[in-house]
Amino acid sequence: MSEAFLQIENLKTHFPVERGMIIRRRIGTVKAVDGVTFSLARGEILGLVGESGCGKSTLGRTILQLIPPTEGTVVLAGKNLAGLNKHDLRESRADFQMIFQDPYASLNPRMTVFDALAEAMRAHRKIPAAEINERVAALMQKVGLSPRFVKKYPHEFSGGQRQRIAIARALAVEPKLIIADEPVSALDVSIQAQIINLLAKLSREMQLTLVFISHDLSVVKHISDRIAVMYLGRIVEIGPAAQVFEQPLHPYTKALVSAVPIPDPEREKQRQRVILTGDPPSPLDPPSGCSFHPRCSYAATECSRAVPALEIFDPARTVACIRAREINQA
């Protein structure tokens, strides 16, 4: 077991913004992901949180090379994915898979469960043809579906069951890394719990490294070993899940955590809320320096000067705030 199974260095994804019908001119750049660095150990679960538009989905897709990175490296088990040519990348894709938010949209309605799972196995030629039947059945059992549903179509399943199929399809090629982009957001509370339990169990049993993207902090806190908080294309804080949730260091994390409603009326009454004013700024025209400073209650003049780097706060945690030590004393 290597220390850093997945290592991401200074990853950037910039999208050009163009205008004009015939002659297209570049009028700006959206820095959806702007210099993200982190590493994960094998079997670790990282929760990636942030508001809509902060770049968490783009980061997930860039790690998997579904969007080519503008800059930076993604090293998975010693191999830099960002540097692979088309053919090698295709070969490697079995190592990293994705689970999407909407199981209604991510499954082909004309393929039976068997077709969907067998297609993945055949495409990567990992499993001998004679064994496919058996493997599909085993896979279905693994995700909690009865193998007798193997000839059914997606529309015959409920949302939770479809998400199980989507998980099974991701697992069909025996990946080492899975990125799950809001995998439970479209599901009801009672079904959410089933899928969270399943992902946690699979990660444990198969030593699967998992990046769990969600806007729902309470879900992320429950499943993750560590949490990374994103704001406007950058990670502002990373640390062990419980610590990030209970003693957030970055002012943005503080606001985010305090905004999460707790389903407990007693605790709700006693809480001190940090209510942010305004909306997240436009990524087309981000504020100078720390992009959170216009909404930050701790902002000082130097906050608008330079982009703060992610710095080690204590052995387990890093935070990108120049006043982190000052505001988190005692």
Partner: protein, 334 residues
């Protein structure tokens, strides 16, 4: 049938035995099947439940917003300040809807007209319901936008909806709903499409508006956390029925109905990390197939034969009503 009868004051809204069915090709879907509740002036009532439990259909039925056909209100009454909304004719309903009862919807983009300036949409209720003259209405509109925390309201009122962010659009919706000073605001998942930080802003805003104006609020949500912080009373719905109802504290602290308890136990926020989450076996029932007795029985871990007999919501000792035969008989304590 509907809990304690109050003699002194009439509640602002009293819903009795509401049944809304949809007659579809695949059978009769009993979306709302015998719902009764009431709300006092200035009170906040939360309605929680999973998708398809009938929370929205309950409120849409009261306001005559159910497409008929296929929908049909089979029975029930909804007495709002002496008027039965379910029997009121369209002209009478129009006088109440948008003036005394206002509604905000989940998706502010689809509920604002993209071709109209904010100004025209915002002041429309004033022009229609109060016959305010236009200049005065615009003044009130600007003030309403200021009240919901939109900066440069005098300029922004001339904008179109696409020029606003999601949170700002929802503020506009709230400003529009409140501009006629309604007695009752019905909010149907108003923050589900928003980020948590913006959600917190909107909740604070509704709380403040409510404190200032003393209106009653019905807050429909699947998010138990939001309801816990905002509402005084909560109705928990399952398969078209209210299965538990009572003061918020009791609903969260001492759930008595097995469904409510299971729901509370399956929320990740309340569980320690790493512990396997409690899950409810099975799936919500198909509402087009009539259910004998308790609709939750097939998924309930405490089920007995008696659960197949019809069950009504009955008030218990603590002012908390539960629709579970075993709890009512006293042989099940959760």
């Amino acid at each position: 049938m509907c809990g304690l009868q109050k003699i002194d004051a009439m509640p602002l809204l009293q819903v009795k035995n509401l049944r809304t069915y949809f007659h579809t090709r695949n059978g009769v879907v009993r979306a709302v099947d015998g719902v009764s509740f009431e709300i006092e002036k200035g009170q906040t009532l939360g309605i929680v439940g999973e998708s398809g439990s009938g929370k929205s259909v309950t409120c849409y039925s009261m306001l005559g917003l159910i497409p008929q056909p296929p929908g049909r209100i089979e029975s029930g009454e909804a007495i709002f300040d002496g008027v039965d909304l379910l029997k009121a004719g369209p002209p009478q309903l129009r006088k109440i809807r948008g003036k005394r009862i206002a509604m905000i919807f989940q998706d502010p983009m689809t509920s604002l007209n993209p071709y109209m300036r904010i100004e025209d949409q915002l002041i429309e209720p004033l022009l229609i319901h109060e016959r305010t003259d236009r200049r005065r209405a615009v003044e009130l509109g600007v003030q309403a936008l200021k009240d919901v925390g939109i900066q440069d309201a005098a300029q922004r009122i001339r904008s179109y909806p696409h020029e606003f962010s999601g949170g700002m659009r929802q503020r506009v919706m709230i400003a529009m709903a409140l501009i006629t000073k309604p007695d009752l605001l019905i909010a149907d998942e108003p923050t589900t499409a928003l980020d948590v930080t913006v959600q917190a802003q909107i909740i604070e805003l509704v709380k403040r508006m409510q404190a200032e104006r003393g209106m009653a609020v019905i807050w429909i949500s699947h998010d138990l956390g939001v309801v816990a912080g905002l509402c005084q009373r909560v109705n928990v719905m399952y398969a078209g029925r209210v299965v538990e109802s009572g003061p918020t504290d009791g609903i969260f602290r001492t759930p008595q109905h097995p469904y409510n308890r299971a729901l509370q136990k399956s929320i990740p926020a309340l569980q320690p990390k790493g512990v396997e989450l409690y899950t409810i076996a099975g799936m919500p029932p198909d509402l087009s197939k009539p259910v004998a007795g308790c609709a939750f029985a097939p998924r309930c871990e405490f089920v007995q034969d008696i659960c197949r007999t019809p069950v009504e919501l009955k008030a218990g000792a603590s002012g908390q009503s539960t629709a579970c035969v075993r709890v009512q008989n006293g042989d099940l304590k959760l």
